[in-house]
């Protein structure tokens, strides 16, 4: 190194390690070196989301999945009053709670209506707000008719009018695409950010959220029907089969997501998230209920237990993803490796 000149250095043929000149404050020029950052200060900012957002993801998914199941049943001509009742009221309650969670989370809750100022197809937050509004209102109408049918509004002229005026089949069908959108778009909501762990999984995030939402919804319906000892045997059998298939699809999608996230998926296995993700989402939310669903004869007790496990696991999964996103955003190494080559989504990438 004794005859290195300044000229050599600036032209890159001085003290060269791995083909790169040594610069002043990066003694190591290994491309995989760990010290590429500004005192470890995060180069991007994490989302501020606390508990309201993962809880919203969870209840929104339950509402969407419930509506999917009951609408398919209706379309196939399978009319089970208990199923219909459970699903209509579930959609109503989830669609009342969802906007409450979302508005609670705003920095200026009193201005929530500005979400309805404009529709932006490129902003998942905007499309999510609109689809919630539409799905919530259609679901509300359906629940109103249900309440009238159930005599909750008394046997008066108004009830009769509601039943006659609200076209049940048409509204259920109309609400279906918006409900499904609510169910999967939460995945796009987190993947359309600069956060490596989320953005990396853009193609599988929406399907994973929908599958997981459907599995929590099926478990919810099965839980309600079993606890109230209602529901026709055919409904319960269909629920059971759907639960089995969905949990397998969900497990497959989560596995594929982990492969896709590769090194950027590490935060899911970090000390603070692993109990939620591995313990909550994978073991108690998928492995344990799958064992119950696929083993031997179905009993009421087993169904109730597996439903509870799936519901808890679904909630844990959403908390784990949000927490992992925070860790990912706060890690300069993750962001810089992600935004340095072709790992980040590129314009020409296709589904």
């Amino acid at each position: 190194m004794s005859d290195t000149t300044r000229q050599d250095l600036t032209q890159g043929n001085g003290h060269v390690t791995n083909g790169r000149p040594e610069t002043s404050h990066h003694p190591e020029t290994d491309p995989k070196r760990e010290d590429k950052h500004y005192y470890g200060i995060p180069p991007i900012k994490h989302a501020h989301w606390t508990w309201q957002i993962p809880v919203y993801f969870w209840i929104g998914g339950i509402g969407a999945g419930t509506h999917l199941f009951s609408t398919v049943a209706q379309l196939l001509g399978h009319d089970d009053p208990a199923l219909k009742r459970a699903s209509r009221y579930t959609v109503l309650v989830t669609m009342i709670l969802s906007p409450i969670m979302l508005i609670w989370d705003l920095g200026r809750p009193e201005r929530f209506y500005n979400m309805m100022r404009i529709l932006k197809l490129r902003s998942p937050m905007s499309t999510q707000s609109w689809s919630l509004l539409i799905f919530g209102n259609l679901g509300g109408l359906l629940a109103a008719r249900q309440a009238a049918e159930d005599g909750l509004m008394g046997r008066n002229a108004l009830s009769g009018l509601l039943i006659r005026l609200i076209p049940e089949r048409l509204l259920s069908l109309l609400a279906l695409p918006f409900g499904l959108f609510v169910g999967f778009n939460t995945g796009n909501l987190i993947s359309a950010t600069s956060v490596p762990i989320w953005a990396r999984n853009w193609a599988l995030m929406a399907p994973t959220f929908l599958a997981s939402g459907l599995s929590t919804a099926l478990s919810w319906l099965s839980l309600v029907l079993h606890l109230t000892r209602s529901g026709e045997p055919k409904t319960l059998r269909a629920l059971h089969r759907a639960e089995r298939a969905t949990i397998v699809i969900e497990a497959g999608l989560i596995a594929a997501s982990l492969v896709r996230m590769s090194r950027w998926g590490k935060p899911l296995f970090s000390k603070s998230v692993a109990p939620l993700f591995v313990g909550g989402a994978l073991l108690s939310g998928i492995a344990a209920p799958a064992a119950l669903l696929f083993s031997g004869k179905q009993t009421r007790g087993k169904s109730i237990l597996s439903s509870l496990l799936v519901l808890a696991g679904g909630l844990a999964f959403r908390f784990a993803l949000i927490k992992a996103g925070r860790i990912s955003a706060d890690d300069p190494e993750a962001y810089f490796t992600f935004a340095s080559d072709r790992s980040a989504p590129q314009p020409e990438d296709k589904v």
Binding site: P27, L75, F112, A192, T193, S194, A339, P345, V351
Partner: protein, 278 residues
């Protein structure tokens, strides 16, 4: 006309006049007295209450200069070999960089904003309308450079306005006005582009071949962002200044995500339908 900044880090002396001028003109609240212990920079980063941030990159070299060195000649930019094979950088380098919102050509924060609060104003700057923002915070993780945050105790999101109010009155932004070394230059983006290229050429001619412009579509604006209206002349890898090398437009994949979700919806609907078959 599109206006923007050119921040030439090679002449920045780290006086932080821009930071102070910005805080004063825009009446931004203080961020508290926090001692980082990392460097003389205790501001750390851009945020909803800090719209200019001067980074201090103070990494001393491990190797030392030895022998009889003419420090005056060193400072005067000599290019002949140094005695004992010492490196010029061996004194350790203090690099400064005044960071600011990049005013992206295709701005991720603007695309994320569900209320339409973030717009492009008549100067083609990315501008948050404070009377519309409802503090959803979705622009915060969307920004590929960590520029925006929600101001505590206010809830809304804020960032550099490129001194919209001053521009309307024909004045240059407060930071550019205050900068004593002209490290921050304000003007028409097309003019700034030419100035940046000329300056980089000048630096190359002087032997600083590592100088380059960051914020062009090639560097600092790939993946759909199409470059930035705030350009920077840098002397080291972008990461050293806490900037990504190839940021991407997060909304690029929204359509793909919706298609994937719709396919999943179809498949899951079919699965549910099949489950009803006895």
């Amino acid at each position: 006309m599109a206006t923007g900044f050119l921040t030439d880090t090679t002449v920045c002396i780290g006086c932080k006049a821009c930071e102070v001028a910005c805080k004063q003109w825009n009446q931004l609240p203080a961020d508290g007295y926090e001692f980082t212990g990392d460097s003389y920079d205790n501001t750390k980063q851009l945020s909803g209450t800090t719209w200019r941030h001067v980074a201090f990159i103070e990494n001393p070299k491990k190797k030392r200069l030895t022998g009889d060195i003419d420090l005056v000649a060193l400072a005067e930019d000599v290019t002949e070999p140094l005695p004992n094979g010492a490196e010029l950088d061996a004194l350790g380098r203090w690099a400064f960089m005044s960071d600011v919102c990049k005013h992206c050509v295709a701005a991720p924060c603007q695309q994320a904003c569900p209320t339409g609060s973030i717009i492009r104003n008549e100067f083609d700057n990315v501008y948050i309308q404070p009377d519309i923002c409802n503090g959803c915070g979705y622009c915060v993780p969307a920004c590929p450079y960590g520029v925006i945050t929600q101001a505590p105790h206010d809830g809304r999101a804020f960032k550099c306005t490129l001194c919209y109010d001053r521009q309307v009155d024909g004045l240059e932004p407060a930071c550019a006005k205050a900068c004593p070394t002209n490290s921050i230059q304000f003007g028409d983006v097309e003019d700034l582009k030419v100035m940046a290229e000329e300056r980089v050429q000048e630096l190359h001619d002087k032997g600083y071949t590592q100088a380059y412009v960051w914020g062009t579509p090639e560097v600092g604006g790939t993946g759909g962002i199409d470059g930035n209206h705030s350009k920077f002349i840098l002397m080291d890898e972008p990461e050293t200044y806490n900037l990504p090398k190839h940021p991407y437009l997060p909304q690029e994949k929204v359509k793909g995500g919706v298609v994937a979700g719709a396919i999943a919806a179809g498949v899951l609907g079919a699965v549910v339908a099949l489950a009803f078959r006895d």
